[in-house]
């Protein structure tokens, strides 16, 4: 079997005095797609945002426990969040391209990290990232147009291109298809399937079908607790826990 890429152990998260996550432990394997499912408000986004320390932005949010990425502790004062985030890309629920040109959107990451020495190199990275995100053919003639002029699905793929342009190892996706129509969703799902070959992906989704389609592992959250985790096939056909059973069969949530 492949190695574990992310190892969470007893992660507690508090928003002020309210506890949002209770002792989450999880083992995420390299180059797999892991889906996080569960009813609204159960803490999926919160957990996802722990992995790239996005919760730092929320003043009242306190995280304790241990998360190791490549065997390195990241829940620590000493963690270099900038290099952590360049290793862990994130795609948000709502597409949030910068109000700049399509080119600049993708070029921003490589530029600030100094990944390129010349204009040509930068162009190469931008083009290859857009290609990997399956967007290049649609936008190659208008790279100088604002990223915000694209359709929702295109914007989301632009955000994926922006995330992979800095050559991360892990991509976090928080309901990447929630604002998209079925066709755009299908395109992104296909894309996730391809990206799996090179990246470790964690995706939050409310769509059981989507989780079943794209993921190898599935984790079911409920009220801040990790109820069950396992092979997607098993979770969807024969879960151990009755809550999981109830949720995936649509009896609650």
């Amino acid at each position: 079997m492949s190695n574990s890429k992310i190892l969470a152990n007893g992660v507690d998260v508090y928003y002020g005095s309210k506890q949002a996550l209770f002792g989450i432990s999880m083992d995420i394997k390299e180059k797999e797609v892991t889906a996080l499912i569960g009813p609204s408000g159960c803490g999926k986004s919160t957990f996802l945002r722990c992995i790239n320390r996005m919760n730092d932005l929320i003043e009242i949010c306190k995280v304790s426990g241990s998360i190791k990425v490549d065997n390195e502790e990241i829940i620590s004062e000493k963690t270099d969040v900038v290099s952590l985030r360049s290793k862990i890309g994130m795609v948000f629920q709502k597409p949030n391209p910068f109000p700049k040109s399509i080119f600049d959107n993708v070029a921003y990451g490589p530029t600030i990290h100094g990944l390129v020495d010349s204009k040509n190199e930068l162009e190469e990275i931008v083009h290859s990232s857009l290609k990997k995100a399956g967007l290049f053919d649609e936008v190659k003639d208008r790279l100088n147009e604002p990223g915000t002029s694209l359709s929702g699905g295109q914007q989301q793929r632009l955000c994926i291109a922006r995330a992979i342009a800095v050559n991360p190892e892990i991509i976090l996706m928080d309901e990447p298809c929630s604002a998209l129509d079925p066709i755009a969703t299908a395109i992104i799902e296909e894309l996730i399937d391809e990206l799996r070959l090179n990246y470790t992906i964690i995706i939050v989704t409310h769509s059981m079908q989507q989780a079943a389609r794209v993921s190898q592992k599935t984790c079911f959250f409920h009220l801040g607790e990790l109820i069950e985790t396992g092979e997607t096939n098993k979770i969807f056909t024969n879960p151990d826990n009755t809550k999981t059973q109830d949720y995936i069969t649509g009896r609650f949530g």
Partner: protein, 426 residues
């Protein structure tokens, strides 16, 4: 049965609600009309009082550039020309202004001319030295008293001792009008000269430039500080008691009466640091202090208006906090901050009290050319002119108000332009 009663109740309630709607619409409309009417009335008053200031009265004077009188020769050097006895030429011209003037009448006639006439006669000659030994008909500036009389601003039907011009002078003016030796033209002095004790040659440029230099100082001082402070408070400051205290006090400072800032300028900038009095540097510093809170509040509002998702996007690709803020948040907030700054500057432009405190109320007859030169400012100039006893200054003050209003409109137009130009959709 019950059902139909309920339905009726709903219908009557709906009628009441739509009536409420109507009423509120009318309130709003009336309020808007009222404020518009007040504005129009204000503009009308100012314009009707002030438009005459854009004209001046000139009188046709025959000047004999006789070389004996001037004590010059046709081949005198330029330097000597400067030293010509032009006051004698002028004296002679006035003595001959009307035929057979008695000595006492000459004195009266002299008072029909502006003090500036000496210079006009001289300038005319220096521009055309070939007129030596010829008689020239020159249009020269009339005294403000004549000007005001012809513009109808001062009345001639009051008793003589309450008039600036006595009966003899009036008859001379009438004679000039009859002989077409007097006319009104565009008042270029108003737009080229600084303040003067003589209304007919007082201009607005000195105080305009003073205001410009002052605003420049305000901008240079307050914009960077305001951006720095608001970015720090909005994006970097830890949320604790001290920050809260600072935030509250910024709002408090915005409400401090401006004269207090003037006192501060007087006490600290002038008396402790010994900066030069009456200068745009000091005035601008004081006004910068005064407008800083306003600008900071506006800047913070526009920083807050930038969607956090943009910053999150930047942070997620590994930007540092500083990069995320300065690459994405600040540029997006820039139109808002610029608009806020311009509004702050507009506020500073109209401020009078603090400038009076630091001595910008002094009479300055020169156009300032730098930040450390004594100068006036537009609102103070208006105040000075309104205060003045001379009739001729009244129209000037109204005209100066027009200038300041146009200045303000232009600044607001720039603010709107910048907002539209840089505003991005996301």
């Amino acid at each position: 049965m019950n059902n139909s009663i309920a339905k009726e109740k709903i219908i009557s309630l709906r009628k009441k609600r739509s009536l409420e709607d109507m009423r509120f619409k009318y309130y709003g409309f009336t309020a808007m009309c009222l404020s518009l009417a007040v504005l129009v009335f204000l503009l009308y008053t100012i314009f009707s009082k002030g438009y005459t200031a854009f004209q001046k009265t000139i009188v046709l004077l025959e000047v004999d550039y006789n070389q004996e009188v001037l004590k010059l020769t046709p081949d005198s050097s330029d330097e000597d020309m400067e030293k010509g006895k032009f006051f004698r030429v002028k004296k002679q011209a006035i003595e001959n202004f009307f035929p057979d003037l008695s000595k006492s009448d000459i004195k009266l006639v002299k008072k029909l001319f502006s003090i500036n006439v000496d210079k006009e006669i001289k300038d005319y000659f220096l521009d055309n030295p070939e007129v030596i030994n010829t008689k020239q008909q020159i249009w020269v500036t009339a005294h403000s008293d004549v000007d005001q009389l012809l513009k109808g601003n001062s009345r001639r039907d009051v008793p003589e001792d309450r008039r600036k011009l006595n009966d003899i002078q009036l008859s001379y003016v009438d004679q000039l009008v009859e002989e077409n030796r007097v006319k009104q033209v565009f008042n270029n002095f108003f737009f080229t000269k600084a303040d003067s004790r003589h209304p007919e040659i007082a201009g607005v440029v000195g105080s305009f430039m003073g205001s410009l230099f002052t605003l420049f100082t305000v901008f240079i001082l307050s914009f960077p500080i305001a951006i720095g402070a608001s970015v720090y408070l909005e994006e970097f400051a830890p949320k604790n008691r001290i920050t809260e205290l600072i935030e509250v006090n910024i709002s408090n400072l915005a409400a401090v009466p401006s004269i207090v800032f003037g006192l501060l300028g007087l006490g600290v900038l002038l008396n402790v640091f010994g900066l030069p009095r009456s200068t745009p540097l000091v005035g601008g510093s004081v006004l910068a202090l005064m407008t800083l809170p306003t600008i900071i509040i506006a800047c913070r509002a526009s920083l807050k208006a930038v969607p956090p998702s943009i910053k999150e996007g930047a942070l997620a690709v590994g930007a540092t906090k500083t990069q995320a803020v300065f690459h994405h948040v600040v540029p997006l907030a820039l139109p808002g901050t610029l608009t806020g700054t311009i509004i702050g500057l507009a506020q500073a432009l109209g401020e009078t009290a603090p400038l009076i405190m630091i001595g910008m109320i002094a009479f300055i007859p020169n156009i300032p050319t730098g930040l450390t030169e004594p100068s006036a400012a537009l609102p103070v100039q208006i105040y000075l002119w309104v205060e003045s006893a001379e009739r001729g200054f009244q129209e000037k003050s109204a005209a100066a108000i027009m200038v300041i209003l146009i200045f303000l409109f232009m600044m607001n137009a720039i603010a709107v332009f910048l907002r539209n130009r840089f505003e991005r959709k996301w």
